[in-house]
């Protein structure tokens, strides 16, 4: 498939072929530009969302998403339908993001917490749903939406790169451990441990805030 995935059982292939996006990708392989456009349309938002939470910057996330699509297009002739399309796409995204984060750390760039000035998607969307859900859990305290958003972002940013990717694929893409494992080139057992540690870390940051309103360092009152 061009990414080193090794699942090749015929049952896996049959499962993959039931995925409409796999069928679109097969059309791309056969030369359909329209099918490629359709795939870009379907995945661009999801991809930019995950990448933005990974790298913390909207502009860079969009550049990386374009890089991912370029790699998908370049790999089209080698494409073999042995996994769900989304798993394959996020395998590429994982590699692209890992490279970007490595180059950034080589440049000693400081990790920037996602913009809180409304320039990112976080600023563009209201958080009514979240605040509603959260206030339901905490009837004694009315959460400040913007503050909560910052706290959750900060919590995500305390995770290491692998934990963050696994969390984002689990939360945003609702991927199974097996699919995350495939996308991140790890075993499902390793993903289980990784996600467990990630959730403990998230809890360590979020619980004091939930219980007592203690803001983690980096979140202004």
């Amino acid at each position: 498939m061009g990414t080193g995935l090794s699942v090749s059982e015929s049952s896996a292939q049959n499962n993959a072929l039931s995925d409409p996006d796999v069928r679109l990708m097969l059309q791309v392989r056969d030369g359909s530009a329209a099918a490629f456009e359709e795939l870009v349309l379907r995945y661009q938002g999801r991809l930019v969302t995950v990448l933005e939470h990974l790298v913390g910057k909207r502009g860079q996330a969009e550049d990386l998403a374009q890089d991912v699509f370029l790699r998908v297009y370049r790999a089209r002739e080698r494409y073999a339908p042995d996994a769900k399309f989304s798993t394959w796409l996020f395998t590429i995204a994982n590699n692209v993001a890992a490279n970007a984060l490595r180059s950034r750390s080589r440049r000693h760039e400081v990790q920037v917490v996602a913009d809180s000035d409304g320039s990112g998607p976080q600023g563009a969307n209201p958080l009514d749903q979240m605040a509603q859900a959260a206030s339901g859990q905490m009837p004694t305290r009315q959460l400040d939406k913007a503050e909560l958003r910052d706290v959750v972002r900060l919590a995500i940013n305390t995770l290491n790169e692998r934990q963050r990717m696994a969390v984002l694929l689990s939360k945003f893409e609702e991927m199974s451990y097996a699919d995350i494992a495939q996308a991140m080139d790890m075993s499902p057992q390793a993903i289980k441990s990784l996600l467990s540690r990630a959730r403990e870390n998230l809890r360590a940051v979020l619980e004091p805030y939930l219980d007592r309103g203690e803001r983690p360092a980096g979140v202004e009152p």
């Binding site: 379907r42 938002g45 999801r46 374009q66 972002r153 919590a155 969390v167 939360k171 441990s193 219980d211």
Partner: protein
């Protein structure tokens, strides 16, 4: 935060996997026993779940409308550059092969995806010549030969419109076609131009086949009838998503395709009316609730009706995506009967016709998809509590270009309604 030095009542790893639905039946039962016996485990589970749910509030990125365009253009340029780079490195006698290789053709096709507004004149002669093929492009592509349309008609797969004397495209004169084209609504014109690009993307052989089919149809003794079938087929295909159409197109055998269309049409016919759908939802909610794990049920009870419904929907989708066997089981006979008692005579008759296990499962699947997922309350939730009337939504939908309609239809219903609402608000100039 809990004291980290206190002994752990249960391995967090297992609790997390339990919340994620990743444990097997035995392991789940073990965790459920722990939950029942030990309040510390319940607290632990609740805290893990609470902090995890906060992440639901992290918003999803909404990319700018021109992002797709710039992505596709960037890739087209990139691929073309690579081709050129390779070309200059090649001996001259091989260069010709590069230019006619698939890479270059694809780069040109990609670049052409968004080049529609550069059409020199409308309607040009070529467009007029191909108009009926373009207007029925999807239907023609799905039609291997005219006999296919006759078989579809014999099986009464589509409800045909009333024949109007002299109005069939099959007998339209070139002058009438030109006049009709010139009078077209701008949106229809745009759609035809878009289809012309899609047609140009096809292989030469496929283009020739479609033109031949169009000609054969006009010359057929039953041209009027076939044209009505083709019209109805095209209208039906327009309602499908691009992926659904691609699925049909990928079925190599015309018999298989007819069977798939027939099955889809049967599913459409089996859809529940609003009252039955409501009853079915109530029944489904009760049934699914009984199948939830105790921890999940407990959490569910603390939610509002809308939140409960949203949660059940999510759970249902996850279970379906993961193929969890306990969610695929058929309801017990008494539950089946309980459902039957609640429904109208028409729906009862459908249930009675579903005799085999497979047919019952199929019927429930259709009702879950069309009834449970599309109830008005879910629309309200999807639109942040503000209910838009069906007519408002329909009108909003009708105003969209064909490509956007297909895009929306390819999304889960709640996302589709949310997107429609956003467009509606934008059109009204409502600030959020």
């Amino acid at each position: 935060m809990s004291d980290s030095s206190a002994p752990r009542p249960a391995p967090v790893e297992e609790l997390v996997a339990y919340l994620d639905g990743e444990l097997g039946a035995d392991e789940s039962r073990h965790i459920e026993r722990l939950l029942a016996d030990d309040p510390r485990v319940r607290v632990e589970l609740k805290r893990l779940d609470q902090t995890w749910e906060l992440l639901d509030g992290l918003p999803r990125a909404a990319v700018e409308p021109n992002f797709t365009r710039s992505t596709v253009e960037m890739i087209a340029v990139n691929v073309a550059d690579e081709i050129e780079h390779e070309r200059v490195r090649e001996p001259w006698h091989r260069r010709r092969a590069w230019w006619f290789g698939s890479g270059c053709v694809l780069a040109a096709a990609l670049a052409g995806v968004f080049a529609g507004d550069k059409i020199a004149s409308y309607p040009n002669e070529r467009l007029l010549d191909e108009l009926t093929v373009l207007e029925h492009l999807e239907a023609y592509r799905q039609t291997p030969r005219l006999e296919f349309l006759r078989e579809a008609q014999a099986e009464k797969l589509f409800a045909l419109g009333q024949p109007v004397a002299g109005k069939s495209f099959a007998t339209e004169t070139p002058a009438a076609r030109r006049e009709r084209t010139e009078r077209m609504d701008p949106r229809d014109k745009e759609q035809v131009v878009r289809k012309q690009r899609a047609f140009a993307d096809l292989s030469q052989a496929e283009q020739a086949r479609l033109r031949r089919l169009d000609l054969e149809l006009r010359q057929a003794p039953d041209a009027q009838e076939l044209a009505r079938v083709l019209d109805a087929f095209q209208t039906w295909l327009n309602q499908l998503t691009a992926a659904e159409r691609a699925h049909l197109l990928h079925l190599p055998d015309p018999g298989q395709r007819l069977k798939a269309i027939s099955q889809k049409r049967a599913e459409e016919a089996a859809r529940l009316g609003p009252e039955d759908a409501q009853e079915f939802e109530r029944w489904g909610e009760e049934l699914f609730k009984r199948r939830l794990k105790p921890g999940e049920r407990q959490r569910l009870d603390g939610l509002s009706a809308e939140e409960r419904f949203e949660r059940l929907q999510t759970r249902l989708r996850q279970a379906a995506a993961q193929g969890q066997p306990e969610w695929r089981k058929l309801p017990l006979p008494r539950e089946w009967d309980r459902l039957r008692e609640r429904l109208s005579d028409k729906a009862k008759a459908q249930m009675d016709r579903a005799v085999s296990e497979r047919a019952k499962r199929q019927l429930l699947r259709i009702w879950i998809q069309d009834g449970f997922h599309l109830r008005p309350a879910s629309r309200a939730a999807a639109t942040n509590g503000v209910e838009l009337s069906d007519e408002q939504l329909r009108e909003q939908f009708r105003q969209l270009p064909d490509i956007d309609q297909n895009r929306l239809l390819g999304r889960p219903p709640e996302e589709m309604f949310r997107a429609l609402r956003m467009r509606y608000e934008k059109a009204l100039g409502v600030r959020r």
